[in-house]
């Protein structure tokens, strides 16, 4: 120990002074935040008129409060305060960015707020929920989500094949890996045009031309429900297969070489050795990849919004794209928010069940 750190412990007055300073800093920050926020509330309520144009002062006061909290933690708690300081920015940021919007969201969800009507915002109780239960388009979109989530398993099958190919003894592996990865990098909006609006365009698109040459008389990728859904799934798969593939490839490369060689010595065919050795060993990685993909799949929206706008007749709609249109085209903020909140609850329940199922399944198998 150096002589610098000893006095801190030997001389309590200094440490007490530091302690007090720490408390004062936090107090000052809190008072500042409360005063500023309070003034703004009064101003908004029309009791005072200080001429605030936005709530930014409260935002700045919140940031100042965060700094005060950090300083105070270091001053009062010493090393454990310094440790907390690592976590504090991310924690405060996430809480501020999630808690406030959630409160606002819940408040909005129970109103009849419509931007295009000028009757203002009214609390309307459970009307939005009642409307939601009777909204065939919402249930239709939810059913579509079921099909889209099922499509993840097809993506997984293809991705596994590609990962096995890349893991085989091949030349120019890096070239193929980069080529296979590229679709993942592209913006779904750009992909909407590149594939949905030009390659699959009915009159001039090369894929349409190809389909016509293969004997499909009246080529139309987005006008009958199942074909349209399949087309959206294909585009989505094009973008997301590389994600699963990369995870599986990493898993395959981590498998010990001896495992596969042992199988060959036993005289197993490669088909057998895949199903009996590689596939079971890859199960944990596979399940991680599938669960992650399902989580992302539930957010699917960009491609649908830009290619079909949910059509024909809602056949390709995802919940996200449906809510987006409810807001964008009908300015129905209150109802759209209720839809979003309900969807969130459904997602949370679904993911929790899925994770439970997966972990129980894993315990049974491994």
């Amino acid at each position: 120990m150096t002589s610098i750190s000893v006095p801190n412990e030997a001389l309590p007055p200094q440490s007490i002074a530091r302690h007090n300073l720490g408390h004062w800093v936090l107090w000052l920050g809190s008072v500042l935040l409360i005063v500023v926020a309070g003034l703004q509330v009064l101003d908004t309520a029309g009791i005072t008129s200080l001429g605030f144009t936005s709530w930014r002062p409260t935002l700045y006061a919140f940031i100042a409060w965060g700094c005060a909290l950090g300083t105070s933690l270091v001053l009062t708690r010493g090393e454990s305060g310094q440790q907390t300081l690592f976590l504090l920015p991310a924690l405060l940021f996430t809480i501020a960015m999630v808690i406030f919007p959630t409160i606002f969201g819940l408040a909005i969800a129970f109103t009849d707020w419509n931007l295009s009507s000028n009757t203002g915002v009214h609390f309307n109780g459970l009307d939005n929920i009642r409307q939601l239960i009777n909204d065939p388009y919402f249930w239709n979109a939810l059913t579509n989500m079921f099909w889209y989530v099922l499509a993840v398993f097809a993506q997984y099958a293809i991705a596994f094949g590609l990962a096995l190919l890349l893991n085989a003894d091949i030349v120019a592996r890096k070239f193929f890996r980069v080529a296979f990865l590229l679709p993942l990098m592209l913006s779904p909006v750009a992909v909407s045009w590149m594939i949905g609006k030009s390659l699959m365009e009915n009159r001039y698109g090369p894929i349409a031309t190809l389909a016509r040459n293969l004997g499909w008389e009246s080529v139309a990728f987005f006008s009958t429900p199942w074909i349209a859904r399949a087309s959206i799934m294909a585009m989505d798969a094009w973008v997301s297969i590389p994600f699963i593939m990369i995870l599986l490839l990493a898993g395959l490369q981590a498998l010990p070489v001896e495992v596969k060689e042992a199988a060959k010595v036993d005289g197993a065919t490669s088909w057998q050795s895949f199903w009996e050795i590689t596939f079971p060993l890859m199960l944990p990685v596979s399940l991680t990849a599938i669960v992650l993909r399902i989580i992302f799949e539930l957010k699917l929206a960009d491609v649908v919004i830009n290619v079909t706008s949910g059509g024909p007749g809602g056949a390709t709609d995802t919940v996200s794209s449906f809510i987006y249109r409810e807001y964008r085209d009908r300015s129905n903020v209150g109802y759209a928010t209720m839809l979003a909140e309900v969807y969130l609850v459904i997602i949370i329940v679904f993911i929790t069940l899925l994770m439970n199922f997966v972990s129980r399944y894993m315990r049974k198998v491994v």
Binding site: M97, L181, S187, P188, W193, S198, F243, T288, D302, Y327
Partner: protein, 310 residues
């Protein structure tokens, strides 16, 4: 990893040479054939988009594909963006619009990624090294809180953010977009970085602290340089995600802060058969990402696979 518990106590020998040469050749042909087919599927849309920027209307309608063989390249697509050799020095409103969106995309994705990597790395280091206890909350719960943000679909936050941002005068500003994007990529950054810090032995930081560094000194001077590759991976992955983001940008921006994907989307319906101009716009929107994919591929792979193996 997954196979750690497998015991292979058999003494291994070389392959039995039972497989005939013909079967091996067939297998090779199949493997390379499949590889080439998928390479074509993965790259053709990109090639198609790039080549379409050089086509005029008849080429588009007749579905010409190979330049100089069935169509003569023309700067048409790039001219419509004001970026062809003959229009680059003239004034062009489309180009100004495009450059503004391009800059917005760059600023918001780089800004958000930098912010997310800074606060995310700090939090990840804390979660990887120290024992926290906030009431009933331990490290595991805090990590779960961060990761659980991943499942939030953008629609849930979109409308509340619209209201909140209106009150905060953050609508249609770059800083507003940066904050939302930071929230979006933060869980992923924390995930990658915690994995990264877990692989660095704690003794390294502790040794520095014995030598007189503070916790923060040890982190900045000793641990960060070792964790740099992970930070680069997290940063690049974040840039890709933010660059491609469409939903929030379309909702929260109008004239000042909208990014490139919104411009692409807004032109999609209105251009009709003017594919060359859409193709030029799409090419410009994906070009930075294709470059990242080609040159920084190992970081993307590193970022994607970090933590996913657990």
């Amino acid at each position: 990893m997954a196979a750690g518990h497998m015991t292979t106590d058999t003494v291994l020998q070389n392959h039995p040479s039972g497989t005939s040469l013909l079967a091996r050749l067939g297998e090779r042909i199949f493997v390379y054939g499949a590889l080439l087919v998928w390479t074509f599927i993965a790259l053709f849309p990109i090639y198609w988009t790039l080549s379409t920027t050089f086509k005029i209307a008849p080429d588009v309608m007749q579905g010409h594909i190979v330049p100089w063989y069935d169509f003569t390249p023309n700067w048409k697509g790039w001219r419509s963006l004001g970026l062809s050799p003959d229009t680059i020095f003239t004034t062009s409103t489309v180009r100004e619009e495009f450059l503004k969106r391009f800059m917005n995309s760059i600023v918001s994705s780089l800004g958000a990624s930098a912010l997310a990597v800074i606060i995310g790395s700090l939090a990840a280091y804390g979660l990887s090294r120290f024992e926290y206890k906030f009431g009933p909350w331990r490290n595991k719960d805090i990590s779960f809180f961060f990761l659980s943000q991943l499942i939030l679909p953008p629609v849930v936050l979109a409308m509340p953010f619209l209201v909140l941002y209106k009150q905060l005068a953050l609508l249609d500003t770059q800083i507003g977009l940066i904050l939302v994007y930071t929230l979006m990529v933060l869980p992923i950054v924390i995930w990658i970085m915690r994995d990264q810090f877990d692989t660095i032995p704690p003794e390294i930081g502790e040794a520095a602290m014995v030598d007189g560094c503070s916790i923060w000194g040890a982190f900045v001077r000793i641990v960060l340089p070792i964790a740099l590759p992970g930070m680069v991976a997290a940063f690049i992955l974040s840039v890709v995600l933010c660059w491609n983001e469409y939903f929030f940008s379309a909702l929260l921006g109008s004239t000042n802060a909208q990014t490139l994907p919104v411009m692409v989307a807004s032109q999609t319906g209105s251009q009709g058969i003017a594919w060359w101009s859409m193709a030029a716009l799409s090419t410009a929107a994906i070009a930075p990402l294709v470059l990242i994919g080609v040159f920084l591929e190992r970081y993307i792979v590193k970022g994607l696979t970090a933590g996913a193996g657990k």
